[in-house]
Symmetry: C2
Subunit: 251 residues, 2 copies
């Protein structure tokens, strides 16, 4: 009988080729598996709630792993992992869960934020899209509200994505002004397709600049064709910020 | 007749050997002089309000420079300098000042903040002192209040400092709790000696850990000897955050 653990963590994705282990890339998953295996003196594999692309950040990400023998001091493990890991990966906590709790399949929602800024920020340089052109937030919000009325998002999915269907239920899609000159797009759905948030943001920014009408935006959704949507916004502005689990998984 | 300009800027000091140009170091001053000279097609020297050490940050720093011919579009210059400069240096504004306005000599106060955190922050990894031991903020504030009663700070000055005297008038010295597990020390004075804030913070942290009494802290000030004070706190937590000028210099 194995014991399953959840790990809650955050990372700045700038220095990594995304979450997922890759043959020639430096990934967050590989970094954590390496340190966790060293610390526990056994090979440990972790499985995340989902992948984030190269340069994308996570304010909250979850992963699970299984061990044959239960751990005794989880706070101490968290502390020493943080000391071993690079400064841009932070483990928030490690806690035991039921054997059928699954970091990916048990998650019922993913919440992303996309941050754009008009002012250069020396302290968080690769953690926003430094956007010098003016955009109309009301127009962008009018277009964003259309996202709640549809469910097929093939137009915002990367062409190569090997998925069975393109249905996603979006229940939040809103631009909010932040302090100073920042603006953040908030979007939550049961699932996201590959590259979906960045494609949506890139297209909404065209609406915000007046280069695309709100009707055009809806036509893009209906077209179910990635080629008609706008360019993907840069990875630097994107943060996975909340993963939702039932209370039976995380009380 | 030359025209003098002030430049207001911010930087993350992690990647630099401090503000000041050095023979074998990568400095913020050198980076700005290089880009400003290229942009204006003439050699331009800048003079800062003060030096910051290797790894120390600035949320607000000022520098001045002189030009033979006045500039026409200062917003455009600010924009293009920001595009040319590395992402961790941000120019806020450039504005003309009177010929006798001096970035260093006209400044009547310097305000520093020192940030300690108990939680690893993946997004601003080298912008705090990651401090895992518990400290008593009330004790540290009791000791900090003593700083307002004295003026000779030789005990907190680096031995090699070539200054005429060690007198500084401190009018603010206070630890404040921040959101979550952070804590920030605020200190403002007319001038600071080399390494002074980090030496004060390092010594106050010993008081906060109960390894030094409040009476000991006052004895250290009275001793006028750097050897009796505590170890300097790491550079990563230190931010120059405000430089005060008379309204005749910056209206």
């Amino acid at each position: 009988m194995t014991q399953r653990y959840f790990m809650e963590l955050a990372y700045c994705g700038t220095q990594y080729h995304g979450w997922q282990i890759q043959p020639n890339g430096h990934s967050i998953q590989a970094e954590i598996e390496d340190k966790l295996s060293k610390r526990l003196r056994q090979p440990v594999s972790i499985l995340g709630s989902g992948r984030t692309d190269s340069g994308v950040h996570a304010e909250q990400q979850f992963a699970h792993f299984d061990l044959l023998e239960p751990l005794t001091d989880l706070e101490q493990l968290t502390y020493s992992l943080n000391a071993m890991l690079p400064p841009d990966i932070a483990i928030r906590r490690i806690f035991p869960v039921e054997p059928d709790a699954h970091a990916r399949f048990s998650a019922f929602s993913r919440y992303y934020r996309y941050r754009i800024t008009r002012q250069k920020d020396a302290f968080r340089p690769m953690q926003a899209y430094y956007c010098h052109f003016p955009v109309n937030i009301d127009r962008m919000n009018e277009a964003a509200s259309i996202l709640l009325k549809h469910t097929d998002y093939q137009s915002f999915s990367r062409a190569k994505a090997a998925v069975k269907h393109f249905h996603c239920t979006i229940d939040l899609a809103e631009w909010r002004p932040e302090t100073g000159t920042d603006m953040t797009f908030h979007i939550r759905a049961n699932r996201f397709l590959w590259g979906m948030v960045r494609a949506i943001v890139g297209t909404l920014l065209e609406v915000g600049q007046g280069r695309m009408s709100i009707a055009d935006f809806e036509q893009i959704i209906l077209a179910r064709d990635r080629k008609v949507a706008g360019r993907a916004a840069p990875a630097s502005g994107l943060f996975l910020c909340e993963v939702g689990y039932p209370k039976t998984v995380i009380p």
